[in-house]
Amino acid sequence: MAKNSINEPYILDTSALLTLESASLLEQVLILFSIITTPRVIKELKEFANYEDTLGRIAKRILKEEKKFSLKNQSINNKLEHVSETDEELYNLALKENLVLITDDIKLTRHTTHKIKRVFSTMFLIAFFKAGMLTKEEVLEKLELMRNIRNWKDNIIYLLTKQELEKSTVFQ
């Protein structure tokens, strides 16, 4: 799956980090891209890591890679209603740096509509497949791991990504 780094910067929130690591994709994402997040996200991950459940174990693995993240403090100059301070911070960072926010948090995605560019973490899965870094079998297997279907909202992301992957072919 080796490819050279293109060093493109992306901002990732807690939900995206957890999803990517659940499918063992984070390592590759960190090699290829410049991943930016905030100290509050690290704090959230540490809170997850306090528990000995699946998410806790995934959070511990992410924290081992902490040094590979570019951590940026960001003041909240533009308020965003109905979301946490961590989310407000990420939103402000994306706004200031004019970067894409990768998040699987529907609430955050919804409240930032037309304000910043944000996409679901499944974007990386599609990219790795199209670039020929993962086979169709591998991406579908990873999508199952990322699926983490807890509700109907995740179900839509999963099914539409699966449809895209099934009809897609690798770039020649």
Binding site: V119, T122, I126, A127, A131, N151, L159
Partner: protein, 101 residues
């Protein structure tokens, strides 16, 4: 939290069963029923919405149909998630092209 009265008539047998549970668990009968009802309603709601979202994602049902069935709010949220997923997929394809070079 606002509440609304729900009038239910239940069989004597069910009342007896509830009395057994209430006695053994040392809980208030009505409170126990309320908790169980909330759990079941949530479970069933999720199950039905999962089915509906599957039909919607597969194009077997339209936003308008969902609106008619359960209202505008959920229909709009489904549409929003669909559009964001499609945008994410498009960006993934673009990024894949860059990585391929």
């Amino acid at each position: 939290m606002e509440t609304e009265q729900l009038n239910l008539r239940v069989s004597e047998e069910l009342i007896n069963d509830l009395n057994v549970i209430s006695g053994l668990l040392k809980v208030n009968r009505s409170e126990w029923v309320k908790t169980k009802l909330a759990e079941e309603v949530n479970k069933e709601k999720n199950r039905l919405l999962m089915e509906l979202s599957t039909l919607y994602s597969k194009g077997m049902i339209k936003k308008k149909d969902i609106e008619e069935l359960i209202g505008k709010e959920i229909a709009e949220e489904m549409e929003f998630i669909k559009q964001t997923t499609l945008e994410s997929n498009k960006m993934g394809i673009k990024l894949g092209k860059k990585l391929h070079k």
